[in-house]
């Protein structure tokens, strides 16, 4: 049981990929040559906020019960949490629940763009000038 962060409730301590998204994330891990699946999760969150993907969960989201990460490991400096809250100051949901949503939907969107050839490497995710 969690409470909205803004209300000062307890935030969740674990986040996970859904059963459908985890294999996609593993594929991206190989493609982007990331050492850990957690790195894909973080990139997916950043990509999702860059793409301004909705924070709410789609109806077919499914249970997030696969690869499970302690938020202390995923976000040791709580900077991901800070990013989400800074971009969405009116957020009333648990920020880590939102992060869980974004890492799953961000992974799917990133995979879609990889398959479409829009994203071939990390450099396509970066703006360097």
């Amino acid at each position: 049981m969690t409470q909205p962060a803004a209300a000062g409730g307890t935030e969740r301590v674990n986040v996970a990929f859904t059963q459908a998204v985890e294999p996609v994330a593993r594929r991206l891990q190989t493609r982007l040559r990331m050492p850990n699946l957690m790195d894909v999760a973080r990139i997916a969150v950043a990509f999702a906020v860059r793409q301004d993907l909705p924070l709410g969960r789609p109806s077919d989201f499914g249970p997030a019960s696969n690869a499970n990460y302690n938020v202390g490991s995923l976000d040791p400096g709580r900077d991901l949490r800070g990013l989400v809250l800074a971009l969405h100051p009116d957020l009333t949901d648990d920020p880590y629940r939102v992060i869980e949503t974004l890492m799953n939907v961000g992974t799917l969107e990133l995979d879609r763009q990889v398959n479409a050839g829009t994203v071939v490497s990390l450099q396509d995710l970066l703006v360097t000038s």
Partner: protein, 647 residues
């Protein structure tokens, strides 16, 4: 020495008994023959007659069981014979060497005989006579093989194996050993004299200690000399091993090269694998931070927006505070800041400043906004760094893939080798590396041993001198003998050095004369000799020609050979196979015109592609072309020597 006649019996392609009559007068003679007809075999027949060896590629000795004529179709070792007739010092010699005479046990053996003016010489006298007439070590300057030209370049690298051997051969033809042997003989006599000096001193009570010490020092010096001799033998033995292994590798040059290439490419793949791993590790080390770089554009954009909002809120807050203070002043008639009374006129001016925003609300908004700004600033992220790391990792991967592809190509080539070839070649290469390492190690030990021997010899000399100065009557005779021999040794040692210096000067002078006749490059001025008789070409300003061409390598080698013929106390024929191999037309003309100056007896083994006969006739006028022979094909295993130019 002048060659008169060569008779061959079943030697190589020369089936049956055949004769080559050398011209009886000074000049150049030409032997024409297409490739494969037996020009090199004829040169080898002369070499075999003189020294009992037959050489193949890279100077490798050819197995004599394969030399006999095979026109009869048998693969059994065939007997053969050569008889070389020549004159020297007014005497006529007939040197016969026959191979394949049965030894009575079904084997083969060689028979040699030397007849001088009709008298058969005994084996010992025969060998001594031949060693005086034409030692094998200097044969290269008479029987000139253009394929060995690269050895002359080695003379420019003091310490190289080929260069050292060639230097020894050069000194031999120049007569240096006469002096060096005299010096060594005197050194040996001096050593014996010192032994007698020590023994004489030991008999006298006054000099006994010095005598004992001298004897001990002599023993140490002997041990050091023996050590030097043993190590010298080891070096020679190892050098022979290296040469033999290198020769055995010569036949598998292609696979040797492929194996070397494979090893290089394996190392390259390993290096690139390492680099790729490092680049991947660098990127992986940043992997947990990449999300920051991904978010960076949005974060930058939002930060700019927050800055603007903060500016706006700050301005609104300032105005709200001003309005609040104005309203308070109007309502209380006193300025809340300075506590002065606010008059009607001033109140009228303050009246329009009605508060529109609540400062406390604005302040709270500002706190929240700045908190968001701080959170966004904490994101950071360096997209340029991540992009660079990924580019480098990608490039390293591409380089590795290319190198792996090249390695695969070589592996595929090697896979075509006959079974066992690579293992055999690899084994020989390892063996060669082992020999070379041992050779280097033994050479180093030899250098140390030589230094040690010199030190020990110096100790002997010092003790011997002390005995001499002691002036005891018991050693007087021995002291004087030692003193005399020491002076003689010093004299001969200095004479060797002086003789060498003068020889080098003479060789340099003569070689330069010949070089100027041979060279077609006007800017090449002269030759300069080094301590090993290596010759460098110099420009007129004295600067050396760097990286001279292979053609000029040929010209320099011919210049040196001609100079050695001129400076040597020995004289003989100059017989050369493929004399023009690396030369262009202009240099061929120069060489041809100069050849009569090299030796009284010059024989060229050529084919018509190498030398234009009309050009030769034009250049060798006034009786300089003294004879022509040609080699006529009878069959692939049978060549006939015939007089005259080919039809």
């Amino acid at each position: 020495m002048r060659l008169l006649r060569l008779d061959v019996d079943d030697f190589g392609p020369y089936r049956g008994t055949q004769r080559y009559d050398f011209a009886g007068v000074p000049g150049v003679e030409l032997l024409w023959g297409e490739n494969g007809r037996g020009k090199t075999s004829l040169l080898n027949a002369i070499r075999y007659a003189l020294f009992g060896v037959v050489l193949g590629r890279a100077s490798a000795q050819i197995d004599l069981t394969t030399v006999g004529n095979r026109d009869h179709g048998s693969n059994e070792p065939s007997p053969f014979k050569t008889t070389l007739t020549f004159e020297h010092g007014g005497q006529t010699f007939k040197l016969t060497r026959a191979y394949g005479v049965s030894d009575g046990a079904g084997g083969v053996r060689e028979r040699v005989s030397l007849v001088r003016d009709g008298d058969v010489l005994g084996p010992e006298e025969r060998d001594q006579q031949m060693a005086r007439l034409l030692p094998e070590q200097i044969a290269r300057f008479f029987l000139f093989d253009a394929e060995l030209l690269q050895e002359y370049e080695q003379l420019l690298n003091p310490g190289s194996d080929a260069g050292d051997k060639l230097k020894a051969a050069i000194e031999r033809i120049l007569g240096v050993p006469v002096l060096t042997q005299a010096r060594d003989d005197v050194a040996a006599t001096l050593k014996r004299a010192r032994t007698l000096q020590a023994k004489a001193a030991q008999k006298d009570k006054a000099t006994r200690d010095l005598g004992n010490n001298l004897q001990i020092a002599q023993d140490y010096a002997d041990q050091a000399r023996n050590n030097v001799e043993a190590l010298t033998e080891q070096v020679e033995s190892l050098q022979t091993d290296v040469n033999e292994v290198e020769r055995s590798l010569a036949g598998s040059a292609r696979y040797q090269k492929l194996l070397a290439t494979r090893n290089e490419r394996r190392l390259e793949v390993e290096r690139l694998q390492q680099r790729s791993t490092e680049r991947n590790d660098e990127l992986a080390a940043r992997a947990s931070e990449i999300w920051r770089a991904v978010a960076s554009p949005l974060v930058t954009q939002r930060l700019a927006e927050l800055e603007r909002l903060d500016d706006d809120l700050s301005e609104r807050y300032r105005r709200a505070i001003e309005a609040q203070q104005g309203a308070l002043a109007v309502s209380t008639g006193q300025c809340p800041t300075c506590k002065q009374e606010v008059g009607t006129a001033a109140a009228a001016l303050l009246h329009p400043h009605k508060p529109t925003d609540d400062p406390a609300t604005l302040q709270a908004e500002m706190v929240a906004l700045r908190s968001r700004r701080a959170a966004l600033r904490a994101i950071g992220g360096d997209p340029a760094l991540i992009a660079r790391l990924e580019r480098e990792a990608d490039q390293a991967r591409v380089d590795l893939s290319d190198a792996q592809g090249q390695l695969d190509d070589v592996e595929a080539d090697l896979a075509d080798a006959p079974p066992g070839t690579l293992e055999a070649v690899s084994t020989i290469i390892e063996q060669l590396a082992g020999y070379k390492a041992s050779l280097t190690n033994t050479r180093n030990r030899l250098a140390e041993a030589r230094a040690d021997a010199v030190a020990k010899e110096n100790a002997v000399t010092a003790l011997s001198d002390r005995l001499h100065r002691a002036g005891a009557g018991s050693t007087g005779v021995e002291d004087r003998r030692v003193a005399l021999l020491s002076q003689l040794l010093a004299l001969l040692t200095a004479a060797v050095t002086d003789f060498r210096d003068r020889l080098r000067e003479s060789v340099e002078e003569e070689a330069t004369k010949i070089f100027r006749l041979l060279s077609a490059e006007p800017d090449y001025d002269r030759l300069r000799i080094n301590d090993s008789y290596g010759l460098s070409i110099l420009f007129a300003d004295g600067s050396p020609v760097i990286n001279r061409s292979s053609g000029y390598e040929h010209v320099v080698a011919l210049s040196l050979t001609a100079a050695l013929q001129r400076c040597s106390p020995m004289s003989g024929p100059f017989i050369t196979d493929s004399p023009f191999g690396r030369l262009d037309g202009r240099h061929k003309r120069h060489v041809l015109a100069t050849l009569p100056q090299i030796s009284d007896q010059v024989m060229l083994l050529v084919h018509d592609e190498e030398l234009d006969r009309q050009m030769a006739l034009g250049l060798l006028q006034d009786g300089q072309l003294v004879a022509e022979h040609h080699l006529r094909r009878v069959s692939g295993r049978h060549t006939q020597i015939e007089r005259g130019a080919p039809a």
